[in-house]
């Protein structure tokens, strides 16, 4: 700005940029607007006439962001207080004069201290996250009495600091519906409160598994719906990665948390290439690998290099290892499919399930030819869980097409398309069928 330019002109010019940047980053238009207004107020008080900052936009953005984060933090603190109060009230009423009953938070600290060393950061440094309080909240939100969607909503609200409106928008339901889920979740926690003692060192691993599932659900919700034509206020996938990072900092020795973070990073590294300009899904096979996010890939592979040799291998680590093999290949055809077959067999050993078998069939088809893949697939065709879904038909269609059975492949594509409830997937499958007529 020139020295003599009036504030008003500067504001009028800068405000849309500042507000736009904030809304893009934080969602929640109303809160962003409030924060910008506060930044303008601060500017009117602090900027000397004729001598504003060199970059008014940067200044406004910084101040507004700070206000916004403060607001989020106090919202988050409020929710955390409500949750603790809900649990404590219940404990108090049911165990009335039991004087030795500690608040859940402190025991989580003990459990954490027993499980991990090294985080000797003093409490109350003002940084959200790296404190036992956050771990306790994550564990609380993943309480087994809650349904998975309630766990996810509560985690985003209490630990992520998102508003009910933002969570509702991200899950594509009305705010009232989401508000209902969150208050039901709080009531359920209160009712289960007496049984929810803080984790002991021995049950911490199981509780962490539950937290991992919640974070992965949030991630998948974000990743798989990001193909939609609508603009999401909140990037759930990024939020899940952020929360998993926080969790990992809290329990650095927990290998599956590290594996989960690596898996999320490797999946998210493909985000920019999974939808084309027309909004259609681009399968892994046809993605432009040069545009994958290599910073994320590098971070994930270095996590895996540390974790894999030293820990009992778990499902997230194996899935991340599979994703890493894909990330290393310069093309779909160059993929080390033998390696992927081995990893899926290991995964089938520790976490067997029809979906793992289905993925194994794809890998076998690529490593040993489509006929071998179809052979692995054959016994799965009667699986009750798979039969109602589109995926087995889509995989079979691909393998049949590779073999050259065009007619049956077309039929399977059409069946898969009928069964799919995903708009872009259905379009893709119908297009594949069309090519075979």
């Amino acid at each position: 700005m020139t020295i003599s330019e009036p504030f008003e002109d500067v504001w009028r010019r800068e405000v849309p940029h500042v507000l736009g940047a904030l809304v893009r980053r934080y969602g929640d238009f109303a809160a962003c607007e409030d924060a910008v207004q506060e930044a303008l107020l601060a500017a009117s008080e602090q900027w000397q006439p004729g001598a504003g900052p060199d970059s008014p936009r940067g200044w406004l953005l910084r101040v507004a962001s700070r206000r916004l984060i403060d607001a989020h933090r106090s919202e988050r603190a409020r929710t955390a207080r409500e949750l603790r109060a809900a649990v404590r009230d219940r404990v108090d009423t049911e165990h009335a004069p039991a004087a030795d009953h500690e608040l859940p938070g402190s025991a989580a600290e003990i459990a954490l201290g027993a499980g991990t060393a090294g985080d000797d950061r003093p409490g109350g440094t003002g940084s959200p996250g790296h404190d036992p309080e956050t771990l306790h909240l994550l564990l609380l939100c993943a309480h087994p009495a809650l349904t998975p969607t309630a766990q996810a909503a509560l985690t985003l609200r209490a630990v992520g600091g998102l508003t009910t409106d933002q969570i509702a928008a991200a899950f594509l339901v009305p705010s009232a519906t989401m508000g209902q889920r969150i208050s039901r979740a709080k009531a359920t926690l209160a009712a289960a409160g007496a049984r929810f003692a803080a984790p002991t060192a021995s049950d911490l691993p199981d509780r962490l598994t539950a937290v991992g599932q919640v974070l992965y659900l949030i991630f998948n919700e974000g990743y798989t719906t990001s193909a939609g034509e609508r603009l999401m206020d909140v990037a759930l996938a990024s939020e899940a990665i952020r929360l998993t990072r926080e969790l990992r900092a809290l329990v650095p020795d927990h290998a599956e948390t590290a594996g989960l973070l690596a898996l999320m990073l490797l999946t998210q590294s493909r985000a920019a290439t999974r939808v084309d300009a027309a909004g259609d899904l681009v399968p892994l096979e046809h993605q432009d690998r040069a545009r994958w996010d290599h910073t994320m890939i590098t971070e994930a592979t270095s996590i895996l290099e540390v974790v894999l040799p030293h820990a009992t291998v778990g499902p997230y680590q194996l899935q991340a290892a599979i994703a890493a093999v894909h990330a290393e290949a310069s093309t779909w055809a160059d993929t080390d499919w033998l390696q992927i077959v081995i990893l899926y067999r290991m995964l089938d050993g520790i976490a067997p399930g029809p979906t793992v078998r289905l993925n194994l069939a794809v890998a076998v088809g690529m490593a040993h030819g489509p006929a071998a893949g179809l052979e692995v697939l054959e016994p799965l065709r009667e699986d009750p869980a798979l039969r109602r879904g589109h995926r087995i038909h889509a995989v079979r269609a691909h393998l049949l097409e590779m073999v050259g059975d065009r007619g049956p492949a077309r039929e399977e594509y059409l069946t898969a398309a009928r069964m799919s409830t995903s708009v872009p997937e259905q379009r893709y499958l119908n297009a594949r069928a069309e090519r075979l007529t």
Binding site: T177, R181, G228, L284, E425
Partner: protein
């Protein structure tokens, strides 16, 4: 996962709740009718409290509908009803539940004599890239 529950019914006269205006339902023993109503009310309350119920509407008499058809480049409007069948769409519920099994469990509670209840998955904008 989102589903719609569609109530296809022929209440005489048209009215809601449709079961009250259906002969097969009216002839049930009153204890049985009360049991069915209580079950339905219970699942509705449960869905409201759990946040599984997204929205619901009861629809007006099918003869009050207006039908817009295309003819020679212009919409041509006539009076309803649209369907030539005896049963008409009487109302819908949009639910968001964990899985198909839960959706079917809920829908079974909507079922009653003389009506057809249809459970249909809603499409979603996302998808997997694997």
């Amino acid at each position: 996962m989102k589903y719609v529950i569609l109530i296809h019914s022929n209440p005489q006269p048209w009215g809601h709740p449709t079961g009250d205006f259906i002969a097969e339902n009216q002839t049930l023993p009153s204890a049985e009718r009360e049991r069915l109503n209580a079950e339905f009310e219970a699942v509705l309350t449960e869905m409201q409290e759990s946040g599984e119920l997204v929205t619901a509407e009861a629809l007006g008499d099918p003869s009050t509908s207006r039908l817009f058809r295309w003819n020679a480049g212009n919409p041509v409007v006539t009076d309803g009803p649209y369907s030539e069948f005896k049963e008409h769409l009487a109302g819908f519920f949009l639910i968001d539940v964990a899985d198909q099994a839960r959706a079917e469990e809920i829908t079974s509670k909507f079922s009653g004599p003389g009506e057809t209840v249809e459970l249909r998955p809603a499409m979603w904008p996302g998808g997997d890239d694997q």
